[in-house]
Symmetry: C2
Subunit: 480 residues, 2 copies
Amino acid sequence: VVERLVVVGADAAGMSAAHQALRTAAARGRELEVLALERSGHTSYSACGIPYWVAGDVPSGDALVARTADQHRAAGIDLRLHTVVEAIDPAAGTVDLRDLSGGRTGGTGGTERVGYDHLLLATGAHPVEPAWARTADGEPVPGVHAVRSLDDGAVWLDRLTSTDRPPRTGVVVGGGYIGLEMAEAFLRRGLEVTLVTRGEVMGSLDPDLGARVREQLVAAGVTVVTGAEIDDLELDDGHSCCLAAGGRRFDADVVALGLGARPETELAAAAGLPLGDSGGLLPDDRQQLTAGPGDDWAGSIWAAGDCCESYTRLDGGRRGGIRVFVPLGTHANKQGRVAGENLAGGDARFGGVLGTAVTRFSGGGVTVEIGRTGPTSAQAAAAGYDVVSLVTESTTASGYMPEASPIAVKVLADRGTRRLLGVQLVGGPGTAKRVDLAAVAIWTSQTVDEVAGMDLAYAPPFSPVWDPVQIACRRLADRW
Amino acid sequence: VVERLVVVGADAAGMSAAHQALRTAAARGRELEVLALERSGHTSYSACGIPYWVAGDVPSGDALVARTADQHRAAGIDLRLHTVVEAIDPAAGTVDLRDLSGGRTGGTGGTERVGYDHLLLATGAHPVEPAWARTADGEPVPGVHAVRSLDDGAVWLDRLTSTDRPPRTGVVVGGGYIGLEMAEAFLRRGLEVTLVTRGEVMGSLDPDLGARVREQLVAAGVTVVTGAEIDDLELDDGHSCCLAAGGRRFDADVVALGLGARPETELAAAAGLPLGDSGGLLPDDRQQLTAGPGDDWAGSIWAAGDCCESYTRLDGGRRGGIRVFVPLGTHANKQGRVAGENLAGGDARFGGVLGTAVTRFSGGGVTVEIGRTGPTSAQAAAAGYDVVSLVTESTTASGYMPEASPIAVKVLADRGTRRLLGVQLVGGPGTAKRVDLAAVAIWTSQTVDEVAGMDLAYAPPFSPVWDPVQIACRRLADRW
């Protein structure tokens, strides 16, 4: 018996699942055919790399493609690009697809109904787009654009390197990862940059750490406007616009949207699949969707990546149950592997998310690195923890070395259990990836006392004798 | 009742203990006076920083001093420099000391017998010195020198920057951390450099990873001679010498000794305190020495730092019992704190050593970073593990980024339990400190499967989507 897996969306989650399913099926002697359907013309690319491509660090969009369509096909996957899934019938186990390729990519043309034994939804996420980003006719405002797909990247590159009316002023809307990275790209392209954000810069940090990032952006020459939302946009001459936010006005030749993403689950919703508060699908830790009492599709539908909510891993997963929407390639890859293994008969589990993330802003003579893992103080309090925390200043290398730059470490712990809950880092080169040691410690439910005693690496070019994260844990442990 | 703590050796371990003892005593309402005795004129300096001072990265020896004598005294410690302890009488609870300062440092001059309630031995380690490093008269051969104390550093700086007969050729004896760092310093000072080492370069790595380091040294222009020991030295003219190793001869204007260290425990041995195979003291995990049945000094003697052996932490400390000599500032600081807390009535434990270490070689256009934690393959096999291992090649950043440089990751696991045992890293900038995440995972007894699922940080300037250490764990986990 040959089973058929249909994968909707051929990026990180979908293609990780497809390859893992084939490996697991082969190892178990099961016959599996895989049909992967992708709306765009691209597969398996690094969305996170797009700002660096726009900034000029990456030579081409092709460089961001981890595996090409041909490489996927060589592994035995029937991959169809420019192919849209128009409907899913969970009860019948079919998808309706439409080939938009005009035959270019080996599609069959027109529409087709395909049956499946296993369906993997990996439809990703949409960038959040405010109403003012479109004209009254529903067309995108010229010069206003998100940064999500390779096509977006090409649009940005084209606009920023245009010799006809080259842009001089850029506004970045949103102070998160994409916002910082696009501010960097704009600076690198010689623009005057304004960043407008609803709260403090880097809302995934506690505000006191976010303020440190903001100070660095300002030092780099970025005009930072916090606590403001764009409430109106006026087009000037078809090439520039004027944004209004809380009574202030900002001229902009280009506007980058960095307002985050929302799950792309319209197809799933139309098929009657349950969605969470964020609009994301709700797979279990095997990445399988749970059918309701009246549903007859139990076990056949899987979901992975940015179209899903994930479980947080507070207290080593034991509290469990808190669903969050964290669209990120690392989770997409892991969830895809888990789904692929399970649907082919294996038994893998996705371990949950800590919200570990890093980024960098480098421009205007400033380099600031940012790392964070675990809940913020507000998130931890909302989850019922009695949070104790502390910010420590140290250096990334021994203070006497030329490599030494300042690093601020915020550590959060639970008063009752003394567990490390979260770590946030803001500092110079060498700061960001230190968050991984904290992520492993939180993943394994360590106390701050235990972290303070661990055998971490020291040599003068890399660390003070006590690593800054360890110093922070030790000082916090001494507090109570 | 005022208790007296006598600390022998005023570097990392001794002074960490002294300060912690005062803090703990104050918190517990105990009265403690601390007398700290130091043979040299320096306190609390970074021995690890000396090669960078010699290379010209650090402006002065003073910059390597973490806390000066005056700072220690301001905290209430009676610190006497240039003061040698000549004998310990454990039964009587006294030390005999001799003031060599001639009154310069506030010493009392001559000899003195001082009683103690608590004695902390923190006498450190000697550099290993081969017989050929001294003349027939027992004098040091000119130009041949170790790299351990601030005085050594001053000698090196003087010799390398001398305008009278500036050295042109340097031989480094030993291929470990100090050897690599002195090879870098010699290159930076314009010397032709030969490095001679008994085994492979970086004997703390598996030989296949050590060979990768060697290739980088050779690419940087260092002549590397492996599998050779210096068996003779001839003085040329009082300024240069010729070393012989297995039939080959090497001219050298200067020779750096990087042959490791041995515990400085002559004083303890003379007092009848038990020593391990390495010659190191044998404190328990509270850093307290265990008295034998006939001894009446039980409980009064403590030891910390490079004069001690430590316990390894294999299998989360549960196998325990394996004593090792790992002289390193990180352990000295932690052990000092543990000893200080306990002798003042607290209850702290030293958690053991994984052998976590990092270093860098940067010169001749090459930068190679090295990280390691846990046992090598040979050490793990000797400890009874059935070792499975794998080397994976990846990049330090996403492959398309300008920051990306190669990184090789060797992962060792135990076949039966699937536990991660050790990780070794050799690669470009961004490699070394990744070892910390592995150190936390080994410290907490994680399997390679668990590490493969953890939520580690990703952004294009810092990592591929899967961190290289995680890739290696995943691939190894897929092996069996």
